[in-house]
Amino acid sequence: MTTTAPADGLLLPVPDEDGAPFWEYAARGELRVQACAACGRLRFPPRPCCPHCQSFESEWRPMSGRGRIWSYVRPHPPLLPAYAAQAPYNVILVELAEAPGIRLAGNLVTSADAPLDSVDPARLRIGARVQVVFAETGGVTVPRWILEKA
């Protein structure tokens, strides 16, 4: 796992009650998504009950950590200072291999600890296969993404 925060000053996730397990699993290096314990359907963002069968029973299912880029942006300043320092960086939306309707926002990086602008923008492509990695920033672990080896 990571030792130093590569990007001090980035905003840290403030989990709500429904989202807390996601971040707890992330801290252990696991990508998990909430699923209904009754009908089995995955849902994101997490919430108290299943929109399909209205059950309040849920579980957190491990994902393979593989997915494809559904879309991406490259923000330029003016931005919050910690982000401006790395701009223009990328933000990608990853469609999970197991659940195409679930798209996680994240950053495509060359390695877990690399800066947000570490990937050559020419390599950003919708449909590109990516793999999750975990990075520690400010004491919190967040998922990031690297290009899957061809």
């Binding site: 905003l11 989990p15 942006v73 490259r74 923000p75 931005l79 919050l80 309707g101 950053n107």
Partner: protein, 383 residues
Amino acid sequence: MAATLKDATAIVGIGQTAFAKQLPQSEKELACRAILAALADAGIAPAEVDAFASYTMEETDEVEVAKAIGAGDVTFFSKVGYGGGGSCATVGHLAAAVATGQATVGVAWRSRKRGSGPRPWKNTAVQLPTPGQWTRPFGLLRPADEIAMLARRYMHEYGATRDHLFNVAMACRNRANENPAAMMYERPLTREMYMTSRMISEPLCLFDNCLETDGALACVIVSAERARDCRQKPVYVHSVAQGLPAQHHGMVNYWNDDPLSGPAWTAARHLWKQADFGPQDIDVAQIYDAFTPLIPLSLEGYGFCGRGEGAAFTEGGALEMGGRLPINTGGGGLSEAYVHGFNLINEGVKQLRGISTAQVPDAATCLVTAGEGVPTSAILLRA
């Protein structure tokens, strides 16, 4: 026999302040000035106002406004959430209140100091409650970033290009160049300026973004019967709708099965169902344009073209005067002023009164929409 709002009420007064990057007055004073201007336009005394509607993001509340302008006893007040998605719903709420006898004279307004005031996304203290935990840590910080994500996918899926987005920016700028009240009056835009401007959030550049503006607007709504005795030609509220689609997630609608068909589609279905006419009968449209990609998405959602055809629709001057669907004839949020879309309502009224600075000849029907990408609203106006 179902009740209907169809033509039961009319907008009989409109008012606005100057639009500028910086105005010296407070938001409260700007609100009062716009409201009093709208009442004067209608020829209705402030003491007759008994209903108010605005946005939840409006910081001048009805208690303060009613007191300041000298309103009488107020029997209806309402606030609509979701920022720019609320604009047309303020008119809809007042129309419903007036049509059902809850009130007789309604005022809707929006006052903002975004030109000189702080930008909400800079407030890190409010960055991170739900749902910010899923987007903000990764640097998806501003509305421009959030909409750019949808825009990139839209371009990928349908072959839309920056030239299509330029068509939108250009149509709005050309109209603003004709409107002395617009912030971009006498400030022409060229394709070269657009293509070489700085990026804000790729694929969106500076000119794909609305203007940071200080200013306020208001309008006055009364029953159709009362409207006949007012000073101005009534502009009837023909149909109203709000839209919050199933499984929608405001701004970052990325977890929906179909993120590219947003609230416009939901609002449109109800809007047209209640109306005597359809998209093909619309003479002029005021379409919420905080960002250029919202226009092709809205053109599709409101049925002016098929799914995926919104970008191609903008070709050949379709959005310009004399084109298939002239839009945002005051300049819109991109080039007149960005006051959370309220200027689009007043511009719709001007068109149907025949007094726009970019008048569509004999315009008798106008669609006005609120923000696509968030729970939204829309109204159909007719002369």
